[in-house]
């Protein structure tokens, strides 16, 4: 394995080197870096030209400049990168550090969401091949494939941001709107749950009535401006997650799984009350990360030690409960801060920027500010990559379902759940891993457009300005991040193969 990884990394570095050389040559030949100064009427024109030549080292041949850049990158192995300066003499390192954090935040979130939702939709449409749901999703997929990103972005800005902000000033639904929303929700629910005609009608009725009753209630409570879950809400939902996760994995009769999950839920319910002061007064990102890590580790420990024969499943179910419970607690605190946040930022979703400039708020308000600014670009990127993931998952699941071992699994009487997830899905994941790895790099490319439309000061901006000014250093910095990410993800995909498919010995 180690030998394989070393060989792959070696080849990857070779490719990265070749690609960087190619891109460097292309960028410096894409135009004249002094064009704007040559045409300028400034008095100190000669001086400015001299200065820029010095900043960009234009007086040395291109291979010398490339070599200097490469040597600077080489220093990264000694943990002190030097990515050169842009044409105004600003160090690209600091520019990149600022830009990369907002872009990676966006792209990682979008990729994770798209993978989860896309794979889920793919499995569902494969199970219900040629149903109304399948045809609907197929059409939607084609629509998203064909959608010009920048055009969709402007639509999102108009209807999601401006429309929502206007609505939130005085949240209200007319009777007609409530009826329409309830009918649509009921229709979608019966499409997803399917079943016989009678069951579909029942699903539709229950969902529609529930939504029809819930919306006026929430309005009357002022929930859209002052949402809340409360201790009781968090505790109830966490226990519900524990029960349903157990029921979906092995069934409620398996006490060895049920008890650890319930203990985890109880622990979450107690801790959210005990630690309330930490959440309100001392919260920061480190505590958040540590809390998330504990939400994985402690339930794993509980499940593993109590699960006995089912320790793997018990640990998984407990971990799900723990993480969802922790998430709900955080959500509760976001809800508590929402009214205060609205006072600071009356129109919560603004269409420009990755954060509000000069925003003065506590931890929760700042986090909400990041969150509301993330919503639109994330929706856009997620929807676009969602389309391909769901499509590939569907195709891959259908391919696998024709294999003999699926028939064997079914004929030896395994429950449908086990056949789908243990036998079919695990094998269907193999091609998806490759596509996800390749897509990540493409998604950063897509992020260039998204960032431009939403006015983010991210890597896209770094790249576009750099290219526009024929300034290689920022462009190469952009490439260094995307290229390394692409190679890294491919490597991960290869290792992932070996885990998924023991036949692949490397």
């Amino acid at each position: 394995m180690l030998k394989f990884i070393i060989r792959r990394v070696g080849a990857a570095i070779g490719i990265l080197f070749g690609a960087s050389l190619l891109l460097y040559v292309l960028v410096i030949n894409s135009g004249d870096p002094l064009e704007d100064l040559r045409e300028s009427n400034a008095e100190n024109r000669e001086y400015l030209i001299q200065q820029r030549i010095e900043f960009m080292n234009l007086d040395v041949p291109w291979y010398q400049r490339y070599w200097d850049w490469l040597a600077g990158v080489g220093k990264c192995f000694a943990l002190q990168c030097d990515l050169g300066t842009n044409r105004s003499g600003v160090s690209v390192d600091s520019l990149l550090a600022l830009a990369a954090s907002s872009t990676l935040r966006l792209v990682l979130l979008a990729t994770v969401l798209a993978l989860i939702i896309g794979i889920a939709i793919g499995i569902l449409t494969a199970i219900r091949q040629y149903s109304g749901l399948d045809y609907g999703v197929t059409f939607a997929t084609f629509l998203f494939f064909s959608l010009p990103v920048f055009w969709a972005a402007v639509l999102l800005k108009e209807y999601m941001a401006i429309g929502y902000n206007d609505w939130l000033r005085d949240p209200d639904f007319t009777l007609g709107q409530i009826l329409v929303i309830a009918a649509i929700a009921g229709f979608l629910m019966q499409v997803f749950l399917a079943g016989s005609l009678r069951r579909r009608i029942l699903t539709f009725a229950v969902t529609a009535v529930f939504i029809g009753a819930a919306l006026p209630t929430l309005l009357a409570l002022g929930y859209f401006r002052e949402p809340r879950l409360g201790y009781v809400g968090v505790a109830l939902l966490t226990f519900a997650v524990a029960l349903s996760a157990t029921a979906m994995s092995v069934g409620l009769k398996t006490r060895k799984v049920l008890y650890p999950a319930l203990i985890t839920a109880a622990l979450v319910s107690v801790l959210q009350i005990v630690l309330v002061n930490v959440f309100v007064y001392y919260m920061n990102w480190w505590i958040m990360a540590a809390g998330l890590a504990l939400a994985f580790v402690i339930p794993w420990f509980i499940g593993h030690s109590m699960g006995g024969r089912y320790k793997g499943t018990a640990a998984g179910v407990s971990m799900t409960t723990g993480v969802v419970g922790a998430g709900l607690t955080v959500l509760d605190h976001f809800f508590r801060s929402w009214p205060g946040f609205l006072d600071l930022k009356p129109r919560p979703i603004s269409t420009i920027g990755s954060q509000t400039p000069n925003f003065a708020g506590g931890f929760w308000e700042t986090a909400l500010d990041y969150g509301t600014q993330l919503i639109l670009p994330t929706i856009l990127l997620t929807v676009i990559s969602l389309a391909s993931y769901s499509r590939y998952t569907r195709a891959s699941m259908l391919e696998v379902s024709r294999q003999d071992y699926i028939r064997t699994a079914r004929s030896k009487g395994l429950p449908e759940r086990t056949v789908i997830f243990r036998h079919a899905f695990r094998n269907a994941l193999i091609p998806i891993a490759t596509i996800a790895a390749f897509d990540f790099a493409a998604l950063i490319g897509g992020a260039v457009i998204t960032e431009t439309v939403f006015g983010w000061k991210g890597m896209g901006e770094l790249f576009i300005t750099g290219l526009d000014q024929v300034d290689p250093a920022p462009v190469m910095a952009f490439f260094l991040v995307t290229g390394t990410a692409a190679i890294l993800f491919n490597l991960l995909a290869d290792i992932f193969y070996a885990i998924l498919d023991p036949r692949i010995r490397v």
């Binding site: 190619l22 894409s30 135009g31 149903s131 010009p148 990103v149 055009w151 462009v475």
Partner: protein, 350 residues
């Protein structure tokens, strides 16, 4: 693609005569035997979505080319996309599709069906001109990328060894650089060379062949082990002849389907580049450029924003559906008949 599967192996006499009887029964039915091409055509024509899309695409193409004319030939639409004029009624579009008996103002075409932009240029002419560009880009990129991808893939797969290694590393090189980045850099270069739309299209074709090259290589790697290749080699056919006469025609399905999807993504890529300012430059018109120029006009003059976007969407969507129809037509395994739903949970529709 189709290798004769019902070869009669002489076994015991009984089986042999049974097979013969079966063959005779098949022949007695007056079903006409169809060639591969006919089968593909039939399956494609049966695909409703693809046929509707083909109609839409042909309509848009004819409309765009006849209305404002092309290559010096004047079209039936009198106004040019370059001429400024006085703005009438705030540049509001005069197109009306709601008939009077529904409370609209009747079906009318008017002077400026899509309205006018800031300087009074006719928006219909601008959009049609942009549509022409999109279609040219799609077709040229499709041809260039397909030709390069198919040849590189076939050569790599047929020769294997070091040729394969070099070509595939070259492909990796192109894949590692995000497509949009590579296209933007080359688009910028093409723009500075004073390039026409064709230059831009060729340049885009030079960077979008990688996916097809990988697919064709995979196909050729398995095809080259088949008997007909050995037979051709035994008869003394050269490598060039084997690749172009025997291997590539057998991968036609993969190639055609991918070419279609390449066209759709090329149209989107061009519009993105023009939106970012690295593609088509003003005063020339392009759908992406129009959206970029008027994205802030959405609140006051939404027609400047809706038309180009809807047309990109319509073209890309119909090309993608045609690709889907072609895939179903070329790959009988994808056929919608004789297929059970997954895990037998659902009944397949006929």
């Amino acid at each position: 693609m189709s290798i004769d599967k019902n070869m009669n192996t002489p076994g015991s006499g009984d089986v042999y005569s049974l097979a013969e009887a079966e063959d005779a029964a098949l022949l007695a039915k007056d079903t006409q035997s169809l060639s591969q091409g006919q089968l593909v055509r039939r399956r494609f024509v049966a695909h409703k979505g693809a046929m509707i899309s083909l109609g839409v695409l042909v309509f848009i193409t004819l409309f765009a080319y006849t209305s404002v004319g092309f290559a010096g030939v004047p079209g039936w639409w009198g106004k040019s996309y370059l001429d400024a004029a006085t703005t009438v009624d705030g540049g509001r579009p005069t197109l009306s599709l709601i008939p009077q008996w529904l409370g609209g103002s009747g079906i009318a075409w008017g002077d400026h069906p899509f309205g006018q932009e800031n300087t009074g240029k006719d928006y219909f002419a601008l959009v049609m001109r942009g549509t022409q560009k999109s279609i040219i880009i799609g077709v040229v990129v499709g041809i260039v990328a397909t030709a390069i991808g198919a040849i590189i893939g076939a050569v790599a797969g047929y020769f294997r060894g070091w040729v394969d290694s070099i070509l595939m590393r070259l492909t990796d090189l192109f894949i590692v650089i995000p497509l949009l980045v590579l296209a933007a850099v080359l688009g910028q270069m093409a723009g500075n060379l004073g390039g026409s739309i064709i230059t831009l299209a060729v340049v885009l074709g030079l960077v979008t062949w990688t996916g097809l090259a990988r697919l064709v290589r995979g196909e050729v790697l398995s095809l080259r082990e088949r008997e007909f290749v050995s037979a051709a080699q035994a008869m003394g056919a050269g490598s060039g002849r084997i690749i172009f006469k025997h291997l590539l025609p057998n991968t036609i399905g993969v190639i055609v389907v991918n070419a279609t999807f390449a066209i759709a993504s090329a149209i989107l890529l061009e519009s993105s580049l023009s939106f970012l300012g690295f593609g088509v430059q003003p005063p020339e018109s392009s759908l992406g450029l129009l959206i970029s120029q008027y994205q802030n006009a959405f609140t006051n003059r939404p027609w400047l924003f809706w038309w180009p976007g809807m047309i990109i969407l319509a073209i890309a969507l119909s090309v993608n559906f045609i690709g889907d129809g072609l895939r179903d037509a070329f790959d009988p395994r994808q056929s919608r008949k004789h297929k059970r739903g997954l895990f037998g949970l659902t009944k397949a529709k006929g």
